[in-house]
Symmetry: D2
């Protein structure tokens, strides 16, 4: 993951794009790409299997989301793996396994 961030940073700097990458615009970009991923599933029943054509389109969007997410974290000085681990810790408290089992949106404890 570290080497991906480094490639993205070099890609950005070779094009002098850092000037456009405000945290706000990077957050906007993550949201726009996430929406493009979602669009692939528009009008498709949840049970639709992911075929090869969908898979390629999905991979493309997933890569865009991850790229902007890494660039956002680079810009705001966030350690993505660390904050995610912390959030999993917190969620283990908020959603005790027994009380949450099989419930799509359990009421939050906090």
């Amino acid at each position: 993951m570290q080497s991906v961030t480094e490639r993205l940073r070099k890609f950005r700097d070779d094009r002098d794009w850092s000037q456009f990458h405000t945290p706000k615009d990077l957050a906007l970009s993550i949201s726009v790409e996430a929406s493009e991923l979602l669009e692939i599933f528009q009008w498709k029943p949840e049970s639709t299997p992911v075929d090869e054509e969908m898979k390629r389109a999905i991979e493309d969007e997933v890569a865009d989301i991850f790229s902007y997410l890494l660039l956002f974290c680079d810009k705001t000085d966030i350690n993505l793996v660390e904050v995610t681990n912390k959030k999993i810790d917190a969620n283990q408290q908020r959603f005790p396994a027994d009380a949450s089992r099989g419930i799509a949106k359990p009421r939050k404890e906090v």
Copy 2:
């Protein structure tokens, strides 16, 4: 990153939540969380510095986006780092450094 995926998988399975995690609903969840990240910047000028309170809120949302992104890739059998590296390769062709320098949205070559 692999160990985060494993923790998320265990968290999900301990609660029997895999049944809700269709690719479509995971894509929807990435989009919803990306939007919550974006909301932090609502009505704020791009130049607003990220203060400590914003930082904590941002870390929380970034962790949610990454969690759903990893769960999505786990479900659809996608290697996130691999597809992102492939996309960077492709973008290097599409946006030659010299022709794209300092241009926010260069016209795509392909």
Copy 3:
């Protein structure tokens, strides 16, 4: 509809909020509210009927989306009904009824 726009304008100006309402931030706000509407359907099968509790939450979000949409059009000097009628005209050309019948995403003619 005109009277809703007038109420929103007065509401905004009574609070001196027009200064925050750049077209970009209003577009961001429409997107954020649309995402909150979508969140109501998260983890719910498409066939789930809309019950009274969902209905109230939905009405709330739909009102927010429409409010920001009207404020956006007010700011950018767009006649919402007019541009929508024009778009329906265009879509009638792009998606001829016979060729599009029962196909969720017909290939666009243009």
Copy 4:
């Protein structure tokens, strides 16, 4: 506005598309179109004036958002103007003009 809804309904039924229009997929579609509107402002400073080319792209997306919003309300039996007026009433209570003046995100009273 009523006549736009009627045109959209006819457009939908002439193509037998009602079968795809679950409330969830219509909410998803509003969100996807809102994101396409937002994308027009990506990497652009908030102060960027809306030129003619942007204006045409914006009109196109605004029409799509409104179309799906009307189809969503038609499907879920919501009176868009009525719920928006009710929301403005509520917001007048939640955000008293004096306490909210010039504050982008006033703390909610409720």
